[in-house]
């Protein structure tokens, strides 16, 4: 399963690279991630939100790191639930429009029950999920936070079919 997607972010490549390079930032816009823990020397542990309170986890190692230009990683743990590799390139956009962020991801979902869970996790349409991730990434970089609406209180990615009416929630958002 291969996904590639690009978005232009109105910030300089060095800044966009630095934010992404700190993998612990990724769950701020990649909503399927619960957290990423930096293990040091280019290794990190990724934990995702999976259905039914379970989690899908893996270790990743950086295989290419060109400051301000490109990061590539791949799964490297013995007990990884999924084999996965990815890269993100940061290219100066023409006309001083900031940075083109080009993402490429490859998943190798396992078979069986876990495979079904992974498939659900990454969505039936991984392209759309990556598109929403990048939309939120751009919001975080350009306006500092994910943009919320009454019908999408968590921001982009809450598919229209799953949204409720655009009425405010009766529950205190600050609680």
């Amino acid at each position: 399963m291969k996904v590639s997607k690009a978005i232009t972010v109105g910030r300089p490549p060095s800044e966009v690279y630095a934010f992404w390079r700190d993998f612990e930032n990724l769950p701020r816009f990649m909503y399927h991630l619960e957290f990423v823990e930096n293990l040091g020397s280019g290794r990190s542990h990724w934990v995702t939100r999976a259905p039914a309170g379970r989690s899908v986890e893996w270790d990743a190692e950086i295989v290419d790191d060109e400051p301000g230009r490109r990061i590539a990683w791949r799964t490297a743990g013995a007990d990884d639930d999924v084999t996965h590799s990815g890269s993100v390139s940061f290219v100066p956009a023409p006309g001083n429009r900031g940075t083109e962020v080009h993402v490429e991801l490859t998943y190798d979902p396992p078979g069986g029950k876990l495979g079904a869970m992974v498939a659900k996790l990454f969505g039936e349409e991984p392209n759309q999920q990556v598109a929403d991730d990048l939309r939120r990434f751009k919001q975080v970089m350009e306006v500092g936070e994910v943009v919320r609406s009454e019908a999408s209180p968590e921001g982009a990615g809450q598919g229209i079919m799953r949204q409720e009416a655009n009425q405010p929630s009766a529950i205190d958002a600050r609680a």
Binding site: T8, Q128, N166
Partner: protein, 389 residues
């Protein structure tokens, strides 16, 4: 709080719903003093805009008083009186920097869905289906305003609501329609549709130096309002072959620019209307582009067709041949209201225009359903309904 909710096709109900909350740091909450029903709300009311959900709060033209501010809002405070653009814009992305705030790249949480439909996404908007983000509408006692520090325009306590309310949509929209026409001295502008946006387009065309404006509609009271602004008028139901009449009125040349202030639910006499109406009902065609086709056919060689009537999807029988062979230019867009508010406020305060002339009905918010009904069916000479929350 009370809010006008869409409950299905041609069904609006004022219901009791929770009050809005701050969700982002640049939000404010506004207590609505005046809110209006827009012609584009009728497309939602009639069920022609997809992704409406039962219970959706309607409304995107409003003003009021700030009652709460988000932590990052520095230039506004509780008690300020503000008018708010109907399009939501962050003020920081490339599109906003170019002044294209109605195409803000960050304000629409449903952007990915719009991208599929339209290739790229446009901005979020208040109460305008879930394709524009699912933001609560403003026909309510309170509304949350995202990116208020960029969008909300502070107005002096001394200016009455009715003078400035329309800065949030229809005055900028009508003005932009006229601006698109690049009006030069001696030029003749034709306007399809004498609803509120058409009325502002007519008045704006004169403000921008048009020598003559010719307005086309079928309701006598709307044509009267156009004549009151100095326009000549054509009643397309009275005239046999109104495009011929328009051609004669312009010495056989055609108008220098044509404004479509009608959009996707146009009416006309005869077969063309039946064709589009049936295809639209069967969902084979998204929009009924009758006014647009006429505007293209009527425009003089090398002229400009300015489209501010709302379209949502696909149209049939688009007259590309005449557009190409006669060198016409089409200019269109949802209005980037942010860049028009201040200059148009100046024009109001200089006495160049009185926006309140279009208001025919002032109703309490509780009577919103009645407001939609009379506006849709043009009952009681209805031109513009303002709701008092």
């Amino acid at each position: 709080m009370q809010a006008a909710c869409w409950m299905g096709r041609q069904e609006v109900e004022v219901r009791d719903i929770p009050e809005p909350q701050i969700l982002n740091s640049r939000d404010v909450i506004v207590r609505v003093s005046s809110t209006a029903i827009c012609g584009s709300d009728l497309h939602l009311f009639n069920g022609y805009v997809p992704t409406m959900k039962k219970g959706d709060v309607l409304g995107h033209e409003f003003m009021g008083e700030i009652v709460e501010t988000g932590s990052a809002v520095k230039n506004l405070k509780t008690g300020d009186r503000v008018v708010v653009p109907f399009t939501i814009a962050c003020g920081m992305c490339w599109s906003c920097e170019q002044g294209l705030t109605s195409m803000c790249e960050n304000s629409n949480p449903s952007g990915t869905a719009q991208e599929r439909l339209w290739g790229h996404s446009a901005s979020g908007a208040f109460g305008y289906s879930h394709l524009t983000g699912g933001f609560q509408g403003a026909q309510a006692e309170y509304v949350r305003v995202p990116f208020a520090d960029f969008g909300a325009l502070k107005v002096d306590q001394s200016v009455p609501d009715e003078q400035v309310l329309f800065l949030g949509d229809i005055f900028p929209t009508g003005y932009m329609a006229a601006e698109f026409c690049d009006i030069k001295p001696g030029q003749v502008i034709a306007v399809w549709g004498c609803g509120p946006v058409g009325q502002f387009a007519i008045r704006s065309a004169f403000l921008l130096g048009a020598e003559r404006v010719i307005a086309i509609d079928r309701f006598d009271y709307r044509l009267e309002m156009a004549r009151a602004a100095g326009a000549e008028t054509i009643d397309y139901e009275e005239e046999d072959g109104h495009l011929e009449v328009l051609k004669e009125k312009t010495g056989g040349r055609g108008p220098d620019a044509c404004i479509d202030a009608v959009g996707m639910e146009a009416h006309s006499e005869g077969l063309q209307f039946a064709y589009d109406r049936v295809k639209q009902a069967m969902r084979l065609e998204g929009d009924r582009p009758i006014a647009l086709r006429e505007a293209i056919m009527a425009c003089r060689n090398g002229g400009i067709v300015s489209v501010v009537g709302v379209y949502g999807g696909l149209i049939d029988k688009f007259p590309m041949g005449t557009l190409m062979n006669r060198g016409l230019t089409i200019r269109t867009g949802q209005t980037p209201v942010h860049r028009y508010m201040r200059p148009l406020l100046d024009r109001i305060q200089n006495g160049e225009i009185d926006p309140s002339v279009v208001i025919t009905h002032r109703l309490p918010l509780a009577d919103a359903a009645h407001g939609y009904k009379i506006f849709l069916h043009k009952e009681d000479r209805c031109e513009k309904v303002v709701l008092k929350a």
